[in-house]
Assembly symmetry: C3
Homo-oligomer: 223 residues x 3
């Protein structure tokens, strides 16, 4: 089994994780099976589609349809399975484990896009970072806007900022050690995944930094 | 009158139906004439725009502006007319008849896109189906997200699933009987339109299949 | 200092105004610094991105990254500053002055896009007008959909209609006096900016024209 095949498998796995987490996120609404699957597929391939449109290259799922198939099948299975989890505790465990998988998927999508755009020499240095973030969160944002629920950006969740710092770190390391691309990629993916897992595990949300400073300056207590 | 001209007329008619149904859908909000027309045009040409961006071809309304003119004029007229329908019963009748027209428009857009993408040999077999669905519902989804109302996907309406099955049926028939493209197109459009009309007429919404199965498995009654 | 440099400075200024007004618009929600900056950047470059995707040309911020840098820095500074404005009256003044700047930015984006698309000879006569409006309001619409707040189109604000009439006027004057492009551009930008400022200053919103006519026809009093 060579490296390219392993990489392809990992990206398919990340696509599946995105689809599954989308289904769990929307299935609490009174939504029918078919609409849930549509939203699962949009979440899984939406970010990459925006990336490819901005890059002006053929859309990735038109070149290799396996991503859409995986998103379709995983969405369907997750919808069915989620309905059979009746106990609140088992539902919660399912949701939690998928959250971790989703964090891994976002890390993989972000870093592999950053690397790809760097290799294309597109709009350095901001391009790879912006498209890395868009690929990781674009699909989820489209889903939330279509479902009408609060988007990721409004939730104070520690998610996008980790992806951003991971992409920036990748660019810096890539610039100084271009010969170790593989190791740097794995390092950055692990870093995003571990910090995201910590944020999920300890339920950490974005601190109110600015509010603290403002209160300090004005000598007030923070309510 | 040759066939291409007739086809062009039909697509213009479908564009008009989309614009009119969009106006009726948003005019219950306290919206001004001009914003309503903008939303009418977005609904009418939005789906096709997404399709052409994904295909990487020139946008259809940039090639032939008659679609935009029709959407503009029909949006304006529908807005004016809808305001003059004061009685509740006549409002309801107007809304119902436009719903049927909208169903016809969606069927026509979906199948003609599926056929077009099939001829382009783009991402077979999933591409034609995905783009058929996107062309038919994309504009409406953009409208609902901009208006802030519940999108089509959240409403359990029998709409998208008919378009999907129509597109799949078209692909299967097209594969086995490539010489009868014209007849197959008409057949699939009629099938989507008739089933959609039935769903409107008898007010059928998506059944809770999975919930029934879950209840059966757990031996519970359905609430 | 030549004209092209001055024009570039003005567009950067308009980008900054868009970013600042976006930050003030979202910072009343309980949003973290980082997400606010993402929304500021999306608002500032979103409309132009849609325009370039539809035109099928390289995205403007990939060609010249200064737009993204300006949007990033201005978003960050505005977020910090807005938090330090504690008094209600000073907050209101800040918001008002940014509203005027935003109006200038929209006017500049709309007319410069209309002129650019006219020069490309793209989809005349509707193309330049549609893309002018999209460039001016597209970023703000994306922001509002992501934030989940009422979009510009639903607010009866006098904003989009001024941009539309400005673009139409530009096209007409440009058609009859092609040799005075520069003067016509400045005239149309000033016209949009002045009328928009008047609408902000006197808090004018879109009148209920159609409702008045309907009431007249039916001989009723307007509630």
């Amino acid at each position: 089994m060579n490296l390219i095949f392993l990489y392809h498998l990992l990206v398919l796995f990340a696509t599946a994780a995105f689809a599954a987490s989308a289904i769990l996120s929307v299935s609490k609404h009174n939504i029918d099976t078919f609409a849930a699957i549509v939203l699962g597929v949009i979440t899984a391939i939406g970010g990459g589609t925006i990336r490819d449109v901005i890059l002006g290259v053929p859309i990735f799922w038109a070149v290799d349809q396996s991503y859409v198939w995986v998103a379709l099948i995983v969405s369907f299975l997750t919808y069915i399975i989620s309905k059979f989890f009746q106990k609140r505790s088992s539902k919660k465990n399912l949701h939690l484990s998928v959250l971790y998988l989703d964090g891994f998927g976002a890390a993989l999508f972000a870093i592999s896009t950053t690397r790809h755009v760097w290799n294309l020499n597109f709009c350095l240095p901001l391009g790879p970072i912006m498209l890395g973030v868009v690929t990781a969160i674009g699909g989820g944002l489209m889903r939330d806007a279509l479902v009408g629920q609060r988007t990721l950006l409004m939730s104070r969740e520690i998610y996008t900022i980790l992806i951003l710092f991971g992409c920036i770190l990748f660019l810096i390391l890539q610039y100084f050690f271009p010969q170790y691309t593989g190791i740097i990629s794995i390092l950055c993916i692990c870093l995003i995944f571990v910090t995201r897992s910590a944020a999920i595990y300890w339920k950490i949300s974005m601190p109110h930094w600015i509010e603290y400073c403002v209160a300090k300056v004005y000598g007030k207590k923070i309510s």
